[in-house]
């Protein structure tokens, strides 16, 4: 695959007056953002027909930096706002850029219900196991034993597997990679953007400052090496017993199906209403 230079992508899609970004050196959000922009570029999507939506957190600042319509909303609620945008103007394509705390803790309910409805939205989910912006509290994705400012003695709760949850709730497309898997990442986003209904691409993304530092991985490369150690490709994971998978994170494509999206269902619903009331044949 031919990759355009990063400058070309930057100049085409970012708001110059907003740069530099607020992201710390070594943060993985920039990578996931770049993959998303490359996917948009490769697919030749119209920049004026995409709305970026986000909640609160580091990842949620992304819509401010990209030169698209953007709605930076309240903590956890991005997908509920997205429901309104999409249904009020189905011609718009929605990308929700979210963090793990935002999507899976405070926003967990909106997340599963948006999936259940099969809302037409592509979620790019940055999973860094922590609340970066507020200073490194534990997130519900944090693996057991990991530390955060609110779990100074190590996380004692069980973690969420967001991708797994999205599959059981019924998403049309679900994939997870670490930001290290850039080609798979771009390809998954392209696939996600091309499908109707709810699509999710989750990225394990390094947060050296708020997360790494507290877990003996001060730099991004250390975190990436750790990801390599704990991630297991889906094909391989299938043959592994649960004990061996303890503390590991499976990566790959978990769902790829074509249930009708909410917009299509609502269009049919309007027709049915008019028919039932005798307004239309």
């Amino acid at each position: 695959m031919y990759l355009k230079s990063a400058y070309e992508i930057r100049d085409k899609y970012l708001r110059k007056d907003m740069l530099p970004t607020i992201f710390c050196p070594g943060c993985g959000i920039g990578s996931a953002l770049q993959y998303t922009l490359r996917a948009i570029d490769d697919l030749g999507l119209n920049q004026d027909e995409i709305v970026w939506v986000s909640g609160i957190g580091c990842s949620s600042r992304v819509p401010g930096f990209v030169n698209f319509d953007g709605l930076h909303t309240t903590h956890g609620r991005a997908l509920a706002f997205a429901t309104g945008i999409k249904l009020a103007n189905p011609d718009l394509k929605i990308i929700a850029f979210m963090g793990d705390g935002d999507a899976a803790a405070i926003g967990g309910n909106h997340f599963i219900h948006a999936i259940r409805r099969n809302l037409d939205v592509t979620v790019i989910l940055i999973n860094n196991f922590t609340y970066g912006m507020t200073g490194g509290q534990v997130a519900p994705t944090a693996l057991k034993g990991l530390r955060g400012t609110t779990a100074p003695y190590g996380q004692f709760e069980n973690p969420f597997d967001i991708a797994d949850l999205a599959v059981s709730a019924g998403a049309n497309y679900v994939a997870r990679w670490s930001v290290f898997n850039y080609l798979q990442g771009i390809n998954s986003i392209k696939k996600a953007l091309s499908k109707e209904g709810f699509t999710l691409v989750e990225f394990l993304s390094p947060c050296p400052i708020s997360f790494g530092r507290r877990n003996r991985m001060k730099t991004s490369p250390e975190l990436l090496r750790w990801y390599q150690k704990i991630t297991v490709p889906l094909a391989k994971a299938k043959n592994m017993p649960p004990e061996e998978l303890e503390g590991k994170i499976v990566i790959g494509e978990f769902a790829d199906r074509d249930r009708p999206g909410l917009v299509r269902e609502y269009e049919a619903y309007k027709k049915r209403a008019k028919k039932m009331m005798g307004w239309e044949e």
Binding site: V53, D69, H72, A80, F81, T83, G84, L87, H113, W279
Partner: protein, 382 residues
């Protein structure tokens, strides 16, 4: 345009139903809600009507999501509404603040019931007045309307949409369980009789570039809705005129918040609405809002028969609030009574307005029943 209910004639319907029909006639095409007594009938009517007029009605997973969805829809260009009651209203406070900060036009109906918490789901109260005005955090202003009859519930709903669009602000329609379920004669106008105000859209690139500026000097920026190529960025963070986050700049914060508050404050005269009854020569004034006003009118009639020079000021808007008008009233009368279905909320605003020029006495009533006219009369004549 075909309507799913008769227009250009009177009908006999409940307050909740009147609100739904008014919303459709005002141009509302997006409704998101969550079941709650006594507001569910608004949602049920919207569910029936919306698909027929090519609008959207969707049930969200909770009230937080309901108001979020209508804000999203508003930025996608639709006139949008949600309706709830106390417990749901409390959940909406977070995103009501977001709508104020991002200057998003929307209509939020709160059908008041007895609280706090689950309280008295089927019975009326006026306990959300303070929450409607001050419920969300931070410095802010918004518009709060308060109908007393089913016809007013209808008329004020249309007005709520128009004010929301005109001033780019959320508008709260504060009704109650009594009006919600009461059936009353309502005139449903022909669509051409309905005055419709639409939001200002940017006329050129320069205006579109400043979605939170003040290009017309009226404090109300044109709204560059999504999908038109404006590439608007909207955030609940403190932002400059272009919408760029400026979270530690005191000057930007003050400019933004003051403009949001002042755009309503300086248009007060066009927003505030009230009615008076026998107030011209009154020595005793009753100040009330909503359903209680109907008992108050009757009480004034009875008092006048008894030779007491009583008069009524019925507030149709609760915010912005005309403190000066209350002070003038206090200079005219000896005493002001404030009957309300709570233990004192409107009373505090009136007392502040009266500014010590007349005694202000609260007539509270809680438990679900509206004051009877005689209860008010007896309190006045002792």
């Amino acid at each position: 345009m075909r309507y799913p209910f008769p227009v250009g004639r009177s009908d006999f319907i409940q307050g909740d139903e009147a609100i739904a029909r008014a919303a459709i006639l005002a141009g509302c095409r997006f409704y998101a809600g969550y079941p709650i007594t006594p507001a569910s009938e608004i949602f049920e009517a919207m569910a029936l009507y919306m698909p027929l007029v090519d609008g959207v009605s969707i049930q969200m997973e909770d009230e937080i999501a309901s108001i979020a969805a209508i804000i999203g829809a508003s930025w996608a260009g639709a006139k949008a509404m949600t309706a709830t009651s106390g417990p749901g209203f409390s959940l909406m406070m977070e995103n009501l603040g977001y709508a104020i900060m991002t200057e998003t036009p929307l209509v939020l109906v709160d059908v008041q019931r007895g609280g706090p918490s689950t309280g008295q789901p089927t019975l009326a109260a006026q306990g959300d007045i303070m929450q409607a005005i001050w419920g969300t955090h931070g410095d802010h202003s918004l518009i709060v309307l308060s109908p007393a009859t089913v016809q007013e519930a209808f008329d004020f709903t249309i007005r709520a949409f128009n004010l929301a669009e005109k001033y780019r602000t959320p508008v709260v329609l504060l009704t109650d369980a009594e009006i919600a379920h009461m059936r009353e004669r309502v005139y449903i106008p022909n669509p051409e009789e309905v005055e419709i105000v639409n939001r200002k859209l940017p006329q050129n690139e320069e205006e579109a570039r400043l979605p939170f500026g003040d290009p017309h000097g009226d404090g109300v920026p044109p709204m560059p809705i999504f999908g038109k190529g404006y590439r608007t960025y909207v955030t609940g963070l403190t932002h400059d005129e272009r919408g760029r986050p400026k979270t530690v700049d005191a000057e930007v914060h003050e400019r933004l918040i003051r403009r949001i508050i002042e755009k309503l404050e300086r248009n007060k005269e066009n927003i505030i609405s009230y009615e008076t009854y026998a107030l011209d020569d009154a020595e005793i004034a009753i100040v009330s809002t909503g359903i209680v006003s109907r008992s108050a009118v009757r009480a004034v009639k009875i008092l006048r028969e008894k030779g007491v020079k009583a008069g009524l000021l019925k507030l149709n808007t609760l915010w912005p609030f005309d403190f000066n008008m209350i002070e003038e009233l206090a200079e005219q009368v000896k005493k002001i009574y404030v009957p309300e279905m709570n233990l004192g909320q409107l009373y505090h605003l009136v007392k502040e307005g009266a500014n010590g020029k007349a005694e202000v006495e609260l007539m509270p009533k809680i438990g679900g029943e509206v004051h009877t006219p005689m209860e008010i009369v007896e309190r006045v004549v002792g």
